[in-house]
Symmetry: C2
């Protein structure tokens, strides 16, 4: 009997030097005579991400390992179970939305590591948008992903027992707690004192967020909707840093926050993060014509995302609805209405928390001109409150366009 001598039978944090040996032991992806180069490429807060390249063939692979604490604070411990959740949801999403998520080659429960496709030729969308690149196919591709991954995992479509098994499998307490705190609580009451408020806006934030009790009440309602509404298998962190993109193609990745929650959460995240790109472009593109052109493309894209989502949702609902009561006349319209209301609300919550909360976005924090940054943040917060307080009125792309234009016009 051969006793396994593998170093990888017990969890430890991989270093750059370990990765080639690890991949060669676990997978027959590279030839035995591969000549490896490995780099740590991750800049996320929770994980360690390596790219391993065989310089002989140019073939490459990604290894992502879950750490036992966040990288910004060793005190924030996190269950490594999120690695299992991420590998599992990527498998499900690959079925629902083929080609729009990276392929997973291996998930290793011992090392809490996932080996996956290297999304070659794609850039992190947030960076690309900050370079003011346009992606004409994005609205079409992201709405296909959203409708398919969200609607097909509900009990409108799925066998109800299978759906409940999924709910159980994707209970994700540690990662949900992060969202409950950072999205649904701290931006309004700063009770952990972790907010990052841009000082020229301190008074504005106090008045518009900390002192607005009516806003707190809506945020509180939405927090319990987030925690209790096991509607759909959501990505849970679908910002533009979770998207790899080029002119032809979109990859959605990093779904470690996945759980069964309200589907508007994902759609709202996409919309909010697209508008951060508007803020960056508006404040940093010097040429007026180029600026207007790019800013218009962003607003057009937000409008297009909402409208395409609605069209595809209706079609997918008609094609896939299985639950006998969900076929009742008027049900689809009501159900879509609740999704659109949640979408607007989350677009508002994400807008606020990424502007004043613990995890700001570079689109805004890198705006060099203080007064332009202050203006951008005021526009975002004003727009966000409109999204939240009037969430039932956001029923089409045009409603978003109007709200965006109204918020811009105020500052």
């Amino acid at each position: 009997m051969v006793i396994s001598m593998s170093r990888f039978n017990k969890y430890f944090l991989l270093k750059t030097d370990d990765v080639a040996e690890y991949v060669q032991e676990k997978l027959s992806f590279f030839p035995a005579d591969a000549k490896f180069e490995c780099k740590e490429i991750g800049d996320g807060n929770l994980n360690y991400v390596f790219r391993l390249v065989d310089t002989n063939t140019g073939k490459s692979i990604i290894v992502k390992q879950a750490g036992e604490a966040t990288r910004i604070s060793a005190e924030m411990k996190l269950s490594t179970d999120r690695g299992r959740i991420e590998a599992k949801i990527l498998g499900i999403q690959a079925k629902y939305a083929p080609g729009l998520v990276p392929e997973v080659y291996l998930y290793d429960e011992v090392m809490c590591a996932m080996v996956m496709e290297d999304m070659i030729g794609h850039t992190i969308m947030r960076k690309a948008l900050m370079n003011h690149e346009k992606f004409p196919l994005f609205a079409d591709q992201i709405t296909t992903f959203l409708v398919n991954s969200l609607l097909l995992s509900t009990d409108v479509v799925m066998n109800h027992k299978d759906k409940k098994t999924n709910v159980k499998s994707f209970i994700n307490p540690d990662l949900c707690e992060i969202s409950e705190d950072l999205v649904y609580s701290e931006p309004f009451i700063d009770y952990n004192h972790r907010n990052n408020v841009f000082s020229p806006n301190a008074e504005f934030v106090r008045k518009e967020l900390y002192d607005d009790k009516a806003l707190h009440l809506e945020a509180a309602k939405l927090k319990f909707e987030f925690m209790n509404n096991a509607q759909s298998l959501i990505h849970g962190d679908l910002h533009t840093g979770s998207i790899f993109i080029n002119k032809e193609h979109t990859y959605i990745f990093d779904p470690e926050f996945a759980f069964y929650g309200p589907m508007g959460y994902d759609i709202g995240n996409v919309i909010a993060n697209m508008f951060f790109a508007w803020c960056n472009a508006d404040a940093t593109i010097e040429d007026a014509e180029q600026r207007a052109d790019y800013c218009n493309w962003i607003i057009d894209t937000i409008e297009e995302i909402v409208d395409r989502f609605i069209v595809k949702f209706k079609k997918a609902f008609e094609d896939n609805v299985k639950d006998v009561m969900a076929k009742t006349e008027g049900f689809m319209e009501w159900y879509l209405g609740t999704v659109l209301s949640d979408t607007a609300a989350v677009a508002g919550l994400e807008s606020i928390r990424r502007t004043v909360g613990m995890a700001n976005v570079k689109d805004i924090t890198t705006i060099p001109d203080e007064s332009k940054r202050a203006r951008a943040e005021r526009i975002v917060i004003t727009l966000a409150k409109d999204y939240i307080m009037n969430r039932d009125n956001f029923k089409s792309g045009k409603d978003y366009r109007k709200a965006i234009e109204a918020a811009i016009a105020k500052f």
Copy 2:
């Protein structure tokens, strides 16, 4: 090494003759020289229930074993995991509402059997109500049970991670499917053709239930609320057959349908089932004065349940709320409002399904006079539709009284 020779190391269905040996092997509850008598006492659809008595001492105990199929149809297979769920929730409820649930001495995962307290000196509440007995402490005791077991298991109060662990542990696909079909689908569209419609009311049921598309739409919305809203650890089947009662005391038992669902489900079940007792009394008590007296007691009790629930809920919320956002001014009132709306809706759904669905109630089916039974059912269905269609207007006990009186006055 002693090899265990126990017959009970592998699941089989207990017979009356097996129970004494089983209990003596598993528990040191009875003396070694006990003289046993055992009877099967259950008349439920899902389980086998035995009472074991030591005739020397008079001590007794209950053994409840989960079968692998329902007793009404061998084709309806059911996971025996419901036994684990039942034993576990009884333990939790015993902490939240001490003295109001039977004590569990043992849960045996192999035999899927639970050994529990014999609720001596209590009667099944449905039978007692059909004997037109009054229980003056019931409204007080049931509302203590409802508020404590429901509110204290929410994430308003609980640590959010612990609550999610509970949600996972109480995922209950088989039993939820029964409710999804029998409560939320079949009474409206009869798609499994299992409804039991009282033939003199066939035309009334067709018009009022099968043809009412607006009602179907509300039932569909409520079905997804039931499936997706993981608000609270609910009993899931809180009708008057799940209550053992006497003049001084109430026991709530049989929580095998438990899962995390909307708390209005339990409250609505109590209200609906209390009104079935009104139907029985109104149709069968011959003396006019006695009839009026008992019927008034039922309506008073329904009013009292709603009002006491509201008072205790507010107090328990103030005393126990932990979530920082749930403390926002106005949140408690909003949250209670959603609970009361769900309560009215479920009171309606339960009223309908127990009148025309697969599982009728004896309160109504035993009414000997055909025209009186037909009238009772029409009152129930009319009232139920009011509960469902106008559920946001049921905010106090008085609102229920008015609706009940209006429905009665129509027939």
